[in-house]
Assembly symmetry: C2
Homo-oligomer: 395 residues x 2
């Protein structure tokens, strides 16, 4: 089979979409052609670079405006956002939390920060994210549901929440997920770290969860250097998210008093200044990224051996990381193709090692994860910077 895998055609098709003048095309790099320098300079000139400042508030307002979610709290990164989302969802030591095995390690780590245990669930081929139908079948056999919640029959532990992640920006089947959460009395927390600018049935991702987490790391659609945000439509949770991420300081003209064990998670103002300039350009970045995805799709449509992954039904994706899916009969060629792409100046990478195969999570409870295993052997991410979509007018 190895002989018939069309490496050259695939590399050629990908390269046809990319600029010719770059020695290496990075997987994802930010674009600072807006007001980044003006805002950061203004921030330095003001002296307010730290955890208090006008840009942090403005950054939150811009997020609320763009996503339509009612409350946003800016924090140091997506991991911190997830941690606080889970705490506010009531995740406690001894609980279990359902998370996809196909995700970045932060999703599972945040569960452990709460003293809880990740319980790994499988993905659907159609979304790359949690498969609600398969999960429903699994839970039917594995849990009991009573008036105070959902319990794992095997471990005896409460299962508190489900944290689907919108893989590479592609929204999961949120209607199906909500149905499962209702049926099994699970709280829904969306890991929307990769899906800023992605919509499910006209609503921005992050709307369906009781709480949701965003990320603005350097490799994301927009960046604040390091950054994240907690989104929620619940006013009390919004207020508590702010309190928990700002050391639970009680307002007073001078007294320094705190009323909870809390976190120093507030996004610094200098990072928010950068983030504000980036958010202003988000619509045009998304347009560029969708144009790039269309070009990849077109270039790869006639190539055999691999398929370009397109957005799920009912979703409008940000195409954060463009994804190639090797054909089933070419499983095993992934690493060779990664090497060939690399030697051709195309930065590419596989999906994450699935969580249940990492040493610290290998004994955690899990359902059958064969689809995720299969996906990991077939996924290759290819260059996805917005700038590769060319110049566009603001959407």
């Amino acid at each position: 089979m190895t002989n018939h895998f069309p490496y050259e055609d695939i590399v050629k098709a990908i390269k046809s979409v990319l600029p010719e003048n770059l020695p290496v095309v990075p997987l994802h790099e930010p674009n600072f052609n807006g007001n980044e320098w003006a805002y950061v300079k203004e921030c330095l000139d003001s002296g307010w670079v730290s955890s208090v400042g006008a840009y942090v508030d403005r950054f939150e307002d811009l997020l609320i405006e763009y996503t339509g979610v009612k409350h946003a709290v800016a924090v140091v990164n997506g991991t911190a956002a997830l941690h606080v989302c889970l705490l506010l969802a009531g995740v406690k030591p001894g609980d279990e939390v359902l998370v996809p095995t196909l995700t970045f390690v932060a999703t599972a780590n945040a569960v452990v920060y709460c003293g809880a245990t990740p319980h790994f669930v499988d993905s659907a081929i159609s979304t790359l994210g949690v498969d609600p139908t398969k999960l429903d079948e699994y839970l039917q056999e594995t849990v009991t549901v009573n008036h105070d919640g959902c319990y794992n029959k095997v471990t005896g532990r409460p299962i508190r929440a489900l944290v689907p992640m919108h893989t590479f920006g592609h929204p999961v089947d949120l209607d199906g997920i909500v149905e499962v959460c209702n049926k099994y009395r699970l709280l829904l927390v969306e890991d929307a770290a990769e899906s800023l600018g992605s919509f499910y049935k006209e609503k921005h991702t992050g709307h369906h969860g009781l709480l949701s987490a965003l990320s603005f790391n350097g490799n994301k659609v927009v960046t604040s250097g390091g950054g994240g945000a907690i989104l929620t439509n619940n006013e009390d949770l919004g207020r508590l998210a702010k309190h928990l991420t700002t050391t639970a300081r009680v307002a007073h003209p001078w007294e320094l008093r705190h009323d909870l064990v809390a976190y120093n998670y507030r996004m610094p103002n200098i990072n928010a200044a950068l983030g504000c300039a980036q958010l202003e350009q988000l619509p045009s970045f998304i347009t560029q990224k969708r144009i790039l995805a269309k070009r990849y799709q077109k270039a790869l449509v006639s190539v055999s051996g691999a398929t370009f992954f397109t957005e799920p039904k009912s979703a409008r994706s940000n195409y954060w990381l463009n994804t190639l899916l090797l054909d089933q009969n070419f499983v095993g060629q992934r690493d060779s193709l990664l090497e060939i792409l690399g030697s051709n100046g195309v930065q590419a990478r596989p999906a994450w090692t699935p969580m249940h195969r990492l040493p610290m999570f290998q004994d955690c409870p899990r359902m059958d994860l064969s689809t995720s295993e299969n996906l990991v052997s077939r996924i290759i991410n290819i260059p996805s910077s917005a700038v590769l979509g060319g110049d566009v007018l603001d959407a």
Copy 2:
């Protein structure tokens, strides 16, 4: 007694040191007259604003050079630094950790993040930090020490570590502290969040602890917006600190694999760019701050009712926050003086509410804390920005 408290003299003495042209003199504000703009702009132009970048490495090198401690790991803030220091010191759920009640809330919170319980200790009048003599007397009655460590006889829990904090930049009695740690088999972690630029017997603070934590919050001697660092002279701990703060990612050209539950605590490059420019000016900031302290001392020497707090014996302090200590017989005047200072355009504040009086820590174990209680009723911090010390040549 109230009638005789010389409010006016004190306000007049303080104002004599401060510039006349400011409507309000802030408690502490940063100074960005070095390479801040140049470095931050270069950072934006490079595109490397996030968790990988040349400025983060340079920031660590500058810290190593200045403090003389062998390894430095830059993180998002001082709280994150403390958390990782305690984890690396082996603090485990169910342990107790000795911390001063007179500290910022992060010291105690970091203990709780590890699943351990803070055990509050008293301060010495001479340093404002942990009193080793009084602590020794207390431990003699309270603990048993055997081959595997120190145990609280009352709670039965292991006491793993002691975390002294160098209050307002003034070094604690480190010789005495080290003696107590050796006698009771306690690991020493220095909370040096306030003491960058402070030396104890010619050695920079942070040398005596197995690990130490620094902070570069906006109100500190130098700032990176948000930032902190872990210091250690132990090579293995230095390596592990880097690993634990960078999601424990295992080096590989493309594979995304992690081998521990770890943290997304790396300082972003844009914050490090700002921090590098600030560290270059640290020696002159310290010179300015020490000049300001001398001026306060001189202005207040002939005023009755309060004393200007000067650096402890054997120490050379950064005078991070200048401190007024009300005389014993004027305890009770603190809040009135704070109000009068405020209405005179002098931003001032009291010490933190002591930890054992915060609702979440009120049931934690503690020794007699009467000196800390007394200090809290007498401490007032007054404006301390380096710029108030005037222009100086680099030290």
